[in-house]
Amino acid sequence: MIAHSKKVKEGKIVKVEVEVDDVIKKLRITGDFFLHPEEVLDDIEKSMTGLKKDVSFDTIVLKIQNIVKDHNSQMIGISPESIAEVLREALK
């Protein structure tokens, strides 16, 4: 399990814990951010499983953006880009 956290540019802390071999097996995102509706984070986490370890920043962003759009959800203090950035750094 790899853990990585940082204060992202939108102002809140994002921590990712990721279980990975060639692909992402499990991902947990925690932090002091806001996301409405809250349950959307479960979908974001699930959508990352199965992605290759070297998945691109853009692919991660796109996946998160699509989920956010599908659920008409709002992120406060974080963004799809910030989550992708922290995840990419964890996967390095």
Binding site: K6, K7, G11, I13, T30, D32, F33, F34
Partner: protein
Amino acid sequence: MNLKWRVIGLETHDAYLNMALDEAVSEGVRAGSSLPTIRFYNWKPNAVSIGYFQGLKDEVNLDVCRELDVDCIRRWTGGGAVYHDFEGEITYSVIAPANIFPKNIIESYRLICGWLVRGLESLGIEAEFRPVNDILVKGKKISGSAQTRRGGILLQHGTLLYGLDLKTMFSVLNVNRQKITDKMIESAQERVTCVCKHSDAGKMEVYEALICAFTEGKDYELGTWSMDELARAKELAEGKYRSDEWMYMR
């Protein structure tokens, strides 16, 4: 349309019932059986609440909490970990249809936090809202709030620091070094403040100032909980908020 509000005056409950009441009232407002509600409350025993997305073990020193008889609870709202000291703070909740507030979440924080700012101003304390969810006095945080919107209902709750017990606060919270470093601030003393450092007002006087500011221009009645709300809150307190499944969700 002039919305009718219910105001529930300062009460004291444990962490589980406090958070369960917010959820029970949200359900009631959604069903049309509860009036939009403003409530003020304290926490006894003292408690740590963590944000919906936070890892319990990341944020809270559970051993110290057990030692000091401090409850731990995961909130229904996002945001950060807060130490709720019975003597040292007043907590509020606002629960109402989301469509009476700005759609933009920051603007809705600004609106409700504005009531707190006006309450502080009536005590002679100059305060300002700082997005996302803080209120500052002379650049130091005096209040933090958290909001959720579910099923068309907005719930915002937040805390106003009346006094500071930093020693206990930092023994029960695992302080995030990164956050402090980022803000280039040496110590918590330099970034957190409380009402008693800026005013001689007693805690009840502060509460009265808040009630005046929160109800200004509103049609409201001083109310109590219905039997249904209390029963549902007790059910949520025991079945959800006290459960390991909820507590250790992240």
